[in-house]
Assembly symmetry: C2
Homo-oligomer: 359 residues x 2
């Protein structure tokens, strides 16, 4: 099948670029003696999780129990649920997953830990700590020590260490390096908190793609959970985490209207790309590979508004374009399948098996 036969809009993955991305981070983590537990939220495809494991990943990371269920197909040595698992049904389902692989859960509340403990299944536990993203995670110091004291007393739970999310550090440039130095100091304090409780953190796990290749500068860190690195996207390029040629996934779209002067409408809007924002100046919703000067300025559900005035070109109705989205993870989640290509040939069509596994 030739790429021109793919019906648009569609997610197209360049296999050579993807493989290069996978190997680059695998090599980096091996070289720096870091465990890699890739977050599968980006691709949601068991075959890709298998490839990550083949290349040395220590296990897989998911956000939702439904994703863990799907990722069992990749036969991982372990699954980290980097999300509070709350609700009886979810814990029952997770206990079932734990019959097939080692399951670790990041917790930031005694309530979450108690409910897991009561399930009667052994779960690994990471204490989730807030290092600045102000999302989940207890504060370092007294709140962390209190959580540790209470969860390590509970039966069926095996304390493995710490997890955090440095999602507030979005740059691999000088300001990012400075932020990572501050993070190192904080982690040293946190490890002192843990030591004070007489505990040992086997795992100190951080998550972030923009600064993935600076992870060795974070003192105390021994595991990373990057996800986006497999495909990369416009925000990863903006952050300095990769170059345009490292973006393995793009959306193939068709020009469906050029009735308004200086503009084309493409057949992908928020239901194909997601409306996630760009972190960089100028905003917009994607980078057009064939027309980098074009401004993808607005979206409706099924319409992408592309200002082509700066391109010096015109695009006929029916022209096909490739767009690097702002954020590839929610974009993939909107598609039932992903097409993989080498040059202009489609190699496989993958089902996005964990798409929409919200529960």
């Amino acid at each position: 099948m030739h790429i021109s036969e793919i019906e648009t809009p569609a997610v197209v993955v360049d296999l050579d670029v993807m493989e290069r991305n996978l190997c680059r981070l695998a090599d980096y983590t091996r070289r720096h003696n870091l465990r890699l537990r890739p977050h599968t939220k980006t691709h949601k495809i068991p075959a890709l999780a298998e490839r990550q494991l083949e290349l040395g990943a220590a296990g897989l990371t998911v956000a939702k129990v439904g994703e863990a269920e799907v990722m069992l197909k990749a036969r991982p040595p372990g699954i980290l649920v980097e999300y509070p698992v709350i609700g009886r049904e979810k814990i029952e389902r997770l206990a079932e997953v734990a019959r097939h692989t080692r399951v670790t859960v990041a917790v930031d509340s005694v309530e979450a830990a108690e409910a897991l403990s009561a399930a009667g299944t052994e779960f690994g536990i990471l204490a989730e700590v807030d290092v600045g993203a102000a999302r989940v995670g207890v504060q370092p110091g007294a709140p962390l020590r209190d959580l540790l004291r209470r969860i390590t007393r509970l039966p069926n739970l095996y304390f493995e260490g710490l997890s955090f999310f440095q999602g507030h550090i979005l740059s691999a440039q000088a300001d990012g390096v400075l932020a990572l130095e501050r993070l190192s100091v904080l982690i040293e304090q946190i490890l002192a908190d843990i030591k004070q409780e007489g505990l040992q953190a086997q795992v100190v796990s951080g998550g972030n793609t923009p600064t993935a290749f600076l992870s060795h500068q974070i003192r105390g860190l021994n595991e990373i959970r990057s996800g986006t690195y497999i495909f990369n996207d416009r925000n990863t390029v903006f952050s300095g985490g990769c170059a345009w040629e490292d973006c393995a996934a793009s959306l193939l779209v068709t020009v469906v209207s050029r009735a308004v002067n200086g503009q084309v409408i493409i057949d992908g809007g928020s239901k194909a790309f997601s409306s996630d924002a760009y972190w960089g100046p100028g905003g917009g919703f994607g980078h057009l590979l064939e027309a980098p000067q074009a401004v993808f300025r607005k979206m409706n559900e099924e319409h992408g508004f592309v200002d082509i005035r700066e391109t010096g070109r015109s695009f006929p109705v029916g022209a096909r374009l490739r767009v690097i989205p702002n954020h590839i993870c929610p974009a993939v989640n909107l598609h039932d399948r992903v097409y993989t290509v080498r040059q202009d040939q489609v190699e496989q069509v993958w089902e996005v098996a964990a798409r929409g596994k919200l529960q």
Copy 2:
């Protein structure tokens, strides 16, 4: 099944409110002698399309061929594809749909019309005209007359009239009324253009939920394609198009963390709500029914960040909340199923059959 047994995050539809919304617009359009061809993009569920037809809808509207294929299940007397259908495979699939029901397509280019004509199947045609949204649609005047001249010569196409999208008019308040008056003047000009070509527009079709109940003030309009009115959402309330008690669909979510002071994290983010923006001041991503003072200020993929400082309340981990999203259409599109309730009892679980039908 009790509502408390639904695993979160989930879309929950209050059947009584939905039925009231359906009847209200059906009554309005009947009273004002307007055809209603509801856009099914909002619910994507054939059973709901059937109910719209039972209440008098003249047909159904879709954006994509894949949605038309699914909506055949509702046995509509006709389907309007309010979107340029570009690409050989799509037109072949649409010709197959046309074997089962009358298919009308809105076109804004000769290329689109020629490709439809060449398929050898009879299609109804609406000429799409831009009335200010600057999305699709030719400009009134010479460009419209040129399009009409060229498409009405093509075999297999039956000219039915005009369509437009007044999506730039987002208010049912005084400024919206003024904008509708300007729109009326424009439509009168457009109808004169059509007359000048010796043509008759049987159908003059407009789309918009915020101003749906002001449609009778648009002179020349005889059909509306509202979609969102079945469920309504936070933006419809902001626009003045409905009240909170008219919001039939909400997202049921669970508090999964309250580790950060003054904040709770709910288990729905951009993969459950979409990251579509709020039109009103203050931004945010939804309205919490149980805590209207809460500010749903930020989302990651699976995390909703809710500032609860103004609520004067606390919410334990495990608390369940209902949230009216900014935009219900892309939210429904993220879910495989929708739960319908009456009071606290779940009545049905509907598959969102046209979810993800992007092609």
